[in-house]
């Protein structure tokens, strides 16, 4: 167990370092510090403002090697953007947004709540609906119930996510006027009204793929020999589905969804930005649009950390759920 943890963490550390390096290289391949500065101060700003901004934000340094310092001087490599990038991320010193100068840590604190209030209900309801519907469909496999549901799933999967958002806003928000089209309010009493539509849209757009996947898992389990044994004991259909099939099928299903849990924090990019939810998903989208390197790298860095956490969580939940699995 200890050996397993150490190995996982070492791999994890390398993954995070790799992601940080890749992000840096990719970002400064498509753009450069001048672009960041120009975007931040605006096209019509005076040259002094622009130079000052670069200096204040440390973007006046070279990317990889600082030739102002001698070959023997470590500053040749530490007084660079790359070094600064790693230093800040690895010490969790996220700094300020390149776009508007607000401290990124503050934006993270403010955005986590709205993000979680969207992603957590979506995750829980999605899992519940997906498992219950697919258990039902699997039980009626090869009947018209199953076949028509498969058609529904295929249709649901072939429609792009964006269409659900626009369609949902039009149908539920504009035509039926059940819920507001977009926006957010931290007051819990009002939040639910704002979140209903994005959660609904998220559920519908994820539904098809989930049901199809879970159905396959359930049917695979239903064909196993131990199910026949349970039937030979005299167990009824409902008992077999819940006590035997569900219990076994939950192992692959849970380990599949556990990986997604850490990412509930980083929010939903598309849903948040289209429904005007000021969460971390919106923050990420804004950062991409405004060339805000400081914010973007923070989100990517956190994403990498959460990915490692998700893997760890997956392995642990696997070992807890399946008596055959030992962590080693």
């Amino acid at each position: 167990m200890a050996a397993y943890l150490v190995r996982r963490l070492v791999y994890g550390a390398f993954t995070v370092l790799g992601v940080l390096l890749l992000l840096f290289v990719l970002f400064f391949t498509v753009t450069d510090p001048d672009d960041i500065a120009r975007k931040a101060v605006g096209d019509r700003a005076k040259a002094e403002v622009y130079v000052q901004w670069k200096k204040n934000h440390g973007y006046d340094r070279p990317l990889f090697v600082n030739s102002e310092h001698g070959v023997a001087d470590t500053k040749r490599y530490t007084d660079t953007l790359l070094f600064e990038h790693f230093r800040r991320m690895l010490t969790f010193d996220f700094g300020r947004s390149d776009a508007d100068g607000t401290p990124i840590a503050k934006r993270l604190r403010e955005g986590a709540g709205p993000s979680l209030s969207l992603t957590v209900p979506l995750f829980v309801l999605g899992l519940l609906v997906g498992v219950v519907v697919s258990l039902f469909v699997a039980f009626f496999r090869e009947t018209y119930i199953d076949r028509s549901m498969l058609v529904v799933c295929m249709l649901a999967m072939s429609i792009a996510g964006l269409l659900y958002i626009i369609g949902g806003q039009f149908l539920v928000g504009t035509l039926l006027r059940w819920f507001p089209i977009s926006g957010f309010d931290p007051d819990p009493a009002v939040t639910a009204r704002f979140l209903a539509l994005p959660v609904l849209v998220g559920l519908v757009s994820g539904f098809g793929a989930d049901v199809r996947l879970y159905r396959t898992v359930f049917i695979e389990e239903m064909n196993r020999d131990y199910v026949r044994t349970a039937r030979a004991k005299g167990a009824g259909d409902a008992r077999i589905m819940v006590r035997h099939v569900l219990r076994n099928a939950l192992i692959p299903i849970l380990t599949n969804v556990v990986l997604a849990i850490p990412f509930l924090f980083t929010g939903a990019l598309l849903l948040e930005s289209f429904f005007g939810i000021p969460g971390l998903g919106s923050l990420t989208v804004e950062a991409i649009q405004s060339n805000d390197f400081a914010t973007l790298r923070t989100m990517v860095f956190l994403g990498a950390l959460l990915f490692i956490a998700g893997q760890l969580l997956t392995d642990i939940s696997y070992a807890l759920a399946d008596p055959r699995v030992r962590l080693s």
Binding site: T229, A230, A232, K233, G234, A235, R247, D322, R324
Partner: protein
């Protein structure tokens, strides 16, 4: 023969095929008296397991038991029972052990709990009392350290122990009929005799009748009172153990008997008879055995032989018995 406990008539099961439904077993007839052991013998692929599953009504779509099939258990046709009533029969009055002990237990549930489920499904005992019963059952089927072993998961037990757990589960409610589908085929040779002894002793104590499925005439010799020989979805010969061991009438039964020492090998292929059992849908016209029969003659190819009664206890399905050809001897 006393009134049968189990009487199977015209049992037919089919599966969907490329063009039309394909029969897997075809008009099976069998009878098992109370307390008796009937061995159902045949090579792999004859339809023995399918027969057992159909008797337990464990055949699920797309497989189908044909109308006209009857499985009379204690006089009533269990194929006609409502599903809920069938569940009170299954596991309590008739129980089954399977060929594959490695996969027949639920991998994520402790073995004791799985046996306990069989008990609590059919009787109103407290969980504690049921657990005590399970410990007794484990002791009875020869599982060492039953107190500890009831909390083991299947993967922590050997194949032999798993099969003992399956036997404990099947015998938990002292069923009137035990169907054992090749209970030792997947086990090491050293353990086979122990498991067979166990089945014999347990069922003798409770007066349970056994439908013992095997491809091994050696097992027949040890356990069976009566024997039914199966080939290509049909019963081709039936009789007492003495009938089948001393004077088998059907050439297929004769071939099986000659191969006793070698049938021990897994898979149950015969050296004495060339070839393999034709698959469902590819059964030949006339006598289904004619493609492999050493005595085949004209009639065999065109006309399916009828079941011919040889003696009060023996019958077989072969043209040789109707005097249509010269005696093969």
């Amino acid at each position: 023969m006393s009134t049968p406990l189990l009487s199977v008539e015209q049992l037919t099961v089919s599966a969907p095929g490329a063009a039309e439904r394909v029969r897997i077993i075809d008009g099976i007839g069998l009878a098992v008296s109370p307390g008796e052991t009937l061995a159902l013998v045949g090579e792999s692929g004859c339809g023995k397991s399918m027969t057992a599953l159909a008797i337990m009504r464990l055949v699920s779509p797309p497989l189908r038991i044909h109308a006209g099939s009857r499985v009379l258990f204690e006089g009533r046709d269990i194929l006609a029972l409502p599903a809920t009533e069938m569940r009170t029969v299954r596991g309590a009055q008739m129980a089954m052990i399977f060929q594959e002990p490695m996969t027949s237990l639920n991998p994520v549930t402790r073995v004791g709990a799985q046996v306990q489920e069989a008990i609590t499904l059919h009787s109103d005992v407290s969980p504690f009392a049921a657990r005590m019963q399970v410990i007794d059952l484990f002791e009875m089927v020869g599982i060492p350290d039953p107190h500890k072993r009831i909390d083991a998961y299947p993967h922590q037990l050997s194949g032999g122990l798993k099969q003992r757990v399956m036997i404990a589960m099947a015998m938990a409610l002292k069923p009137r009929l035990l169907i054992a589908d090749e209970p030792t085929t997947a086990l090491d040779a050293t353990i086979r005799a122990q498991i067979l002894d166990l089945i014999r002793n347990l069922t003798a104590n409770t007066g349970t009748a056994v439908l013992l499925i095997t491809h091994d005439f050696g097992v027949v010799n040890e356990l069976a009172d009566r024997v039914a020989v199966m080939y290509a979805g049909q019963i081709v010969e039936e009789g007492t153990r003495e009938d089948l061991l001393a004077r088998p009438k059907h050439p297929y039964a004769q071939g099986l008997l000659k191969s006793i020492p070698r049938a021990e090998q897994r898979g149950g292929r015969l050296e004495e008879i060339q070839g393999v059992v034709p698959r469902p849908g590819q059964w030949p016209e006339g006598c289904r055995f004619h493609t492999r029969c050493p005595y085949v003659f004209d009639d065999c190819v065109f006309e399916p032989p009828a079941r011919t009664i040889v003696s009060a206890t023996q019958a077989a399905r072969c043209h040789l018995l109707t005097g249509k050809a010269l005696d093969p001897a």
